[in-house]
């Protein structure tokens, strides 16, 4: 199969699936190397950019996904009366932030940081598939450890957890007594 044909196959696969298309998976399906798929997917992404299509090839959760360009959202919403998924609540975002940056983390650790009970918000996040149980902590009671899921990456358009921006001001904060000025 030449590059031209393979590119068309990849486009068909992209259009046919909701899951981000992982190069290795596409490679297995077509019977070519993952590197070639990856290279051609990058080429496609570039082509759509150049051409100023209505869509873009987004790199997310380790794969590639066709999404409409954000500036066209109003037309889509109007024609299909589709609304984007409801935004997460502040409580959910705070909890997710703690989990994302501290994973794997127990409920008690999250609650200590947020200063409030997190039972119901954790349930919501589990139900929406944004977090998942990743194990048990070797501590009294063997509490559940939580981490972010693949769907978390998709929801925020991230390729991997490493793509999260660094935690703000992490290095400039110090214990009270050790700071000379305010």
């Amino acid at each position: 199969m030449d590059d031209h044909q393979l590119r068309a196959v990849l486009e068909a696969l992209l259009l046919a699936t909701t899951e981000p298309l992982v190069p290795a998976k596409a490679a297995e399906v077509v019977g070519v190397s993952a590197e070639r798929c990856q290279r051609l997917l990058e080429e496609l992404a570039e082509e759509y950019r150049q051409r100023e299509s209505g869509w873009e090839l987004q790199r997310v959760a380790g794969g590639y996904r066709l999404v409409t360009r954000p500036q066209f959202a109003p037309y889509i919403e109007r024609l299909y009366r589709r609304t984007p998924a409801a935004p997460l609540s502040e409580a959910a975002l705070e909890t997710l932030a703690v989990i994302a940056y501290r994973q794997p983390v127990t409920r008690a650790e999250i609650e200590h940081i947020r200063g409030v009970n997190c039972d119901s918000v954790l349930n919501t996040l589990l139900e929406r598939g944004l977090i998942e149980e990743v194990g048990r902590k070797e501590a009294p009671g063997r509490p559940i450890l939580y981490g972010t899921s693949r769907h978390f990456l998709e929801h925020f358009g991230l390729d991997s957890p490493e793509d999260l921006p660094p935690l703000p001001d992490e290095e400039t904060e110090g214990p009270p007594g050790e700071r000379a000025t305010k």
Partner: protein
Amino acid sequence: MGYSVRLPVFEGPLDLLLHLIEEQRLDIYDIPIAHITSQYLAYLRAMERVDVELASEFLVMAATLMAIKARMLLPKPAEAVATADEEDPRRELVSRLLEYKKFKKAAAVLRALEERQRGKFPAQPRRPSDLRPDLSYLPADTLQVLWTAFSRLLKDADPVPQQIMRDLITVRQKMALVLRTLRRHPGRVQLDGLIGPAPSRTDIVVTFLAVLELARMGRLRVIQDFPFGPVWLERVGEWHGRSPAAGSSRSPAASHH
């Protein structure tokens, strides 16, 4: 402070404290504890007046603040003077506030990422119409296995209350209702939307069966964009006001056009 009409809502006591500190530009490393305590208590009283039920954590924090205030007012015992500097009663509170503040900022970052992502609609999947997921990894005797597994479970479990009710609305009636709803709404309809505000178990089952039957007949498609995501129904066949005339109604969905 005039907390008059609109009270801001806080995620918790740390959120509230941070707000008070930032609003009044106080130094987080040298919190005027008596001042902040009275502000904090004023807010709690205001919330009480408008009948907002406060989480118990707010009250625990009030107690903590008052304890810190008391410790700061106490004359230091003579033998403690030497080490006084390293034991600031506010120390733990400050480090918790700083830690919380970091994650509050991180939450704002996530909010921005989410907002950017919400404007991007993913491609709706186009499956070849005859495609079914591969269930071949299920052993042929799965039904038997299910049956055994379940009866074994029942032996160990408390009996689950079983309700058996007469159908108030038949599956066939429900099918007509579902089709009408889908005709009225172009695009997709969320499955939850088909079930009334307070459905009985029977109603849910009947709706479910009606949807299953319609899907089997090829009149609608059931779509879930991601695991745990909402379930959507999409009309197949008659559309754009055209009547579901016999024969022509199914064709647009099939890929053999």
